[in-house]
Structures are given as structure tokens and as C-alpha cells.
Symmetry: C2
Subunit: 363 residues, 2 copies
């Protein structure tokens, strides 16, 4: 077994110990005589797994009791529709900040559904190299919610603060930074996140929703997108993505054993600092993101020469540093250094960057 | 390792060799240096997996070239909404046969969305103990489609024929009989199926749709439910449930190696015959389903005494025959004997039934 360092933006690395545990009990789970993949979702064995997953996540994130935790399907992209379908009836309109590709998609999806939505701030003109400032007075006072994407995977930016929205529920896509550090859940009305970056394999979507926001669903909407229906059925209105939830449970357990989200944050800060400090110490590579908007999870950089960028990603891959090519819409390089990326992986990357710069002088 | 015989209606048994293969390559897949769970869905390694999955399924089912194969999320329950949202605009109305709980849910979902839908036949009055006769003259001539559930998991019934619908597209939920036997795909407009009975762990939904039916989607519908969008993006409009699709690929491969769907059908017929022949040979247990409507996948039976039924399921479980309790809405017993249930499992069940009948005489 020759494991690589996988800098993919998602699906992405999972902790080796989690993978090894999953492999060891894949064919037969405990005393059940079957794989978790084969368990009825209504069986006591599986009900214990999903209950543990929720309990561990609640503990990790310190989720207040008046929030429901839902394990759904369809990815953040499905929530782009579910958010307005479940919430906009509160007042009939909603506001969005467009700070990158996914927040733009969320905004467009609400428009596609025919809703009165307004983009109150965007950094599009500056190629999303920062997160726009958001203050309460920018939000329409009768907005049903403000939608943001808290960490922008493609551009490598993140809100340096949680926007203050007063009584207006803040709805946030946390796909690429969920459980990477402690966060005050009570500041949000709704948090959602695809699993495939920091939590589990692809195929599960986490939704954390404040209970008082469950009563605004459209009547004529797909039942499967109704948060209230899912909450009332403990995420089991139909068969949930059982195995992916089990994998998430193993990941939550791994973080709890490490010491929780404060320890995770320290580990992530240390990794990000190693890479950003190197980027700031030289001028061969440039980090396009403004410092105060830097993501701790996705680090973007360029050489300034598209051919060199291409060579970098290709040679890095041969050296066992995989998926460093930037998103097809922006080019350059991107190192996604989620929870499961070991410090040694970032050390190896920085060493490779130094070597590459030395061997490939610019004209 | 002490594997049980798991008669669960879904999630359900997977072939042992598939589970063992998955376990063996869970941590590191081939030369990739990573788990399939960690692969970018845009990576060549993963693109080969999803392409293989589709190619194998096309070969297995002999899917004509003018049909698209989609690997989606959300289960059949999401398709209950997606079907009218994608198709009803063709004429503005649609017809349904209600032959059990899930076809009833599909019908209600279309009603909930505000559509003109008509139930043209049901066996509800007879507790769904048979599949109602469906002939072309019963369908409204201007129906956008006729929706059926081909195998009714809960009641243990199945259409003994594919209804003739002429030019009206036939839309069928095949969740609990997909790839259990050859079927003429060209007789259907749309086939859909949750994976967790005969194909893979829960978390993937197969949709097979005739290309000319991709052009009727509502404008104001969630993008993630649009078949056309998914078809145009090769099921990768967003991150698909990568690992579940990989598991489906392993299952397709397993069936191809066995000899394909004709061999699978023979194996399934032999298992079902063993159980039904025993049921027909005695009068301790009764099989409530009319003979011509019997499912090859889900076999229901009762003792006629609710306490005895309960004791049966409980003692069977202790004997390693799991999940034989009937669905909570109907009681009695149900043995789901999908592809992965070995013949020996059904033999063990029949032996247990005989022993139980002997040891528990009725008054």
C-alpha cells in the first residue's frame, strides 16, 4: 500500500485510521452478521449508528437543542433549491451574497425557481479574490433570510467573521469548512454542507436547521426536499444513505478522539500557516487571495505562467502530490488541506514547491 | 466472521464476494494510492469507474442506445416528484396504477405538486393482494405517461406482464426487481430504481430514460431533479454518490461473471420456487398473494395468528434468519430473496418454517 497525498477539493482525503476501521468491519459489523451496507435502516443496529452519528456531531459542534440535524441526499446543489423552497415563504423574498461559484449557483437556483432574490454584495468584479463585506444595513429588512457560502472552495476564500444579520436568519453553505474548527451554530438559522470534503465520502448532505424555521415550506414542493418532513422522520422518511452516514460517524469519532474541534482547528491552522508562510516568503508563487479572506481549507496559488502551472501539477502528481490543479474555471493551483490531510502532506508540498521553483526558473 | 441470512426488504444482502473485494481495496484502490471514497469525481480513475458501471449495466440490461442511464441521489421517493416535474408538461396530465404503498406514494406526490393525475386502477380494496389488470383503453388518451410500480416490495406482488400503453410512455418504479431478470427496456419510457435492494448500498438511484422524454421539464423546478441536466452532465452536474456507484459496478460485474440476467433469473426462480412450493404444499402458513401476481423477490406469508407471527420472526432471528418480520403496515412475514440471497438461505428458511410449524401447533 503506497498512499499518496491527495489535495483534491472534494471528494477528498479521509483519515487513514477511519478507512482502515471501515475496511476491517466492511464484511461483518460487530455481532450483526452483516455489513453496515446490508442493514435495514429500521434495524436496531443501524438505528444505533445514525443516533451515534447525530450525537457525536452535536457534541463536536455544540449544536443547541433547538436545532435539528438532518442527514440528507443530493449534495449542496439540492439545498440551493431546498433553501428557498423551505424558507422564502416567511416573507416572500431573500438576499444573497455571491462570493464565488457555489454561492452564485445558489443565487441562480432561487432565481430559476421564480423567487424575488437580490444579490446584496459580490466580489465577482475582482475574480472573487476576497469575501465582500456584509453588514446588516445592506440586507433588505423584510428578507426571509440571507444566504452566504462561508468558505469558497474554488477561490480559496473564507469569511473572516460571521455576518451579523439581527433577526434575519443567516443561511450558510459550509460544505468546505464544516467541522474544521469550532463555530457558533446559534449565529445561523440554517447550516448545510455536502459531506465529501471534511466529513465522509460523497452522497450525504448535512442540514442543521433551527426549529422555528421548519414551518415555511412551500406546499407544492417535492416532499423529499422538505426539511420538516425529514426532521419529523429522523432523516428516515425514506431510506437514508446509510453507509455514508456510518462513514461520517467514524470521522466524527476520529475528531472526538483527537480532542474535538479546537484541536482540529489548531492542526488545520498549523498546516495552513506552513503553506501561507512559505507563499508570503518568496515571489515565485503568488497567492491571489487577499490575506484577510484566506481559507484555511483551500489554498490557491499561481506561478503567473499557465504552462508552468500545468507542469507543476503534472510533476507534483508524479511525486505523489495529487490533484493540485486549480479548478477548471480559474486555473493555477489549489491545495485543499482538509482535516484528513496530515501535516506531513503539507510539508511535502512545500518541499516540492521549493524544488520546482529552483528547477524551473522564470525568464 | 459469522454471516447471517438477511431477508431484509432493503437495504439488503450484497454478494459476499463483492463485499470482500470492496473491503480488500477500500484503503487503496489499484495503483491510485487512495480509496475510491477519496477520489475526485473528475479524476481519470473515477471516470473509469462510473463509465464501467454504466457500460456493464447497459450490457446486463441490453439498454438501447436511445436511452440515457443516470446515477442520481434521493431514492425512488425523490423520483416520485421528479417524474411529473420532468414529464407531465408533455400533455398536462398523467395516469397512475396504485398497486401498493410506493405506487400510492408516487400518486400522492404528483397530487401534492398540484397536477391532474388519475388513478386508473387499484387493488387497495383487496389489501393489494394482486396487481390490478391494466389495459390500454383504461389510460386517458392524452395522458403524459402511465406510472406503475412493477414489483411491490411490501405486499410481495409483481406485474406478470409489461402493460401495453401504445404511444403513451410507461414509467415504472423497478426498485425491488431491477436486474433480477431480463426485461425489455424498450417497452418503457422511464425506469427508475433505488439501489438498496438489488444493486448497491442505499444512496444511489438509477434512472433509465428514453431520450425523447428529456424535453418536458418544468422551468421552475430544482435543477438537481432535472433528468436532462443530469444526462447532459453524465450524472456529474454535481458530485455523484461516487462510492455507491462503485459498489453498483462491483455488483454488475458479479452478475456478468455469473452469466448475466438470464442466469440470475434462473437462480432467482429456483429460490422463489423452493419457498412458494413449500407454501403451496401445506396449510400452516398462508401466502396471501394471488398466484399470478406473486413476486420473485419478496415472498409474504402469515400463520393467521399475530402472536405466532411475532414468535416466528423472533425465533428465526435467533436462528440467523434475519428481518423476516413483515412491513409494519401489513404484519405477518416477508422474505426478501433478492439476487444476493443464496439458495442455501432459502433452504434454511424452509427448514426453519417446517420446524416451527411442528413445534408450534395451532389450537
Amino acid at each position: 500500500m503506497n498512499r499518496v497525498y491527495n489535495f483534491s477539493a472534494g471528494p477528498s482525503m479521509l483519515p487513514l485510521s477511519v478507512l482502515e476501521k471501515a475496511a476491517s468491519e466492511l464484511v461483518c459489523y460487530g455481532e450483526s452478521g452483516m455489513s453496515v451496507m446490508e442493514m435495514s435502516h429500521r434495524s436496531p443496529d443501524y438505528e444505533a449508528i445514525i443516533a451515534d452519528a447525530e450525537a457525536m456531531l452535536r457534541k463536536l459542534m455544540e449544536i443547541p437543542d433547538n436545532y435539528k440535524v438532518l442527514f440528507l441526499q443530493g449534495g449542496a446543489s439540492t439545498q440551493f433549491a431546498a433553501v428557498p423552497l423551505n424558507l422564502i415563504k416567511r416573507t416572500g423574498k431573500a438576499d444573497y451574497v455571491v462570493s464565488g461559484q457555489f454561492s452564485g449557483k445558489a443565487f441562480k437556483e432561487a432565481q430559476k425557481l421564480g423567487y424575488d432574490v437580490k444579490c446584496i454584495a459580490t466580489s465577482k468584479e475582482d475574480n472573487f479574490t476576497y469575501v465582500p463585506v456584509v453588514t446588516k444595513d445592506m440586507i433588505r429588512p423584510d428578507a426571509a433570510y440571507l444566504h452566504i457560502c462561508f468558505n469558497n472552495t474554488i477561490y480559496g476564500t473564507k469569511y473572516p467573521y460571521i455576518p451579523e444579520t439581527g433577526e434575519i436568519p443567516l443561511v450558510a453553505d459550509l460544505s468546505s469548512c464544516i467541522i474544521s474548527e469550532p463555530i457558533d451554530v446559534s449565529k445561523f438559522g440554517v447550516i448545510y454542507a455536502g459531506a465529501q470534503k471534511n466529513m465522509a465520502p460523497a452522497g450525504m448532505t448535512l442540514v442543521i436547521v433551527r426549529e422555528d424555521l421548519l414551518d415555511y415550506a412551500e406546499e407544492k414542493m417535492p416532499t423529499m426536499l422538505e426539511w420538516k418532513t425529514m426532521a419529523e422522520n429522523g432523516s428516515m422518511y425514506n431510506t437514508p444513505p446509510c453507509y455514508t452516514i456510518y462513514m461520517a460517524k467514524l470521522v466524527y469519532e476520529w475528531i472526538l478522539e483527537l480532542g474535538g474541534l479546537k484541536v482540529m482547528q489548531q492542526m488545520n491552522q498549523k498546516k495552513a500557516a506552513l503553506l501561507y508562510d512559505y507563499l508570503d516568503s518568496q515571489d515565485y508563487y503568488k497567492a491571489p487571495v487577499q490575506k484577510e479572506s484566506r481559507s484555511m481549507m483551500n489554498v490557491t496559488f499561481v506561478t503567473g505562467d499557465a504552462d508552468l502551472d500545468k507542469k507543476f501539477a503534472s510533476e507534483a502528481s508524479k511525486a505523489g502530490l495529487k490533484n493540485l490543479k486549480g479548478h477548471r474555471s480559474v486555473g493555477g493551483m489549489r491545495a485543499s488541506i482538509y482535516n484528513a490531510m496530515p501535516y506531513e502532506g503539507v510539508e511535502a508540498l512545500v518541499a516540492f514547491m521549493k524544488e520546482f521553483a529552483k528547477n524551473n526558473p522564470k525568464n
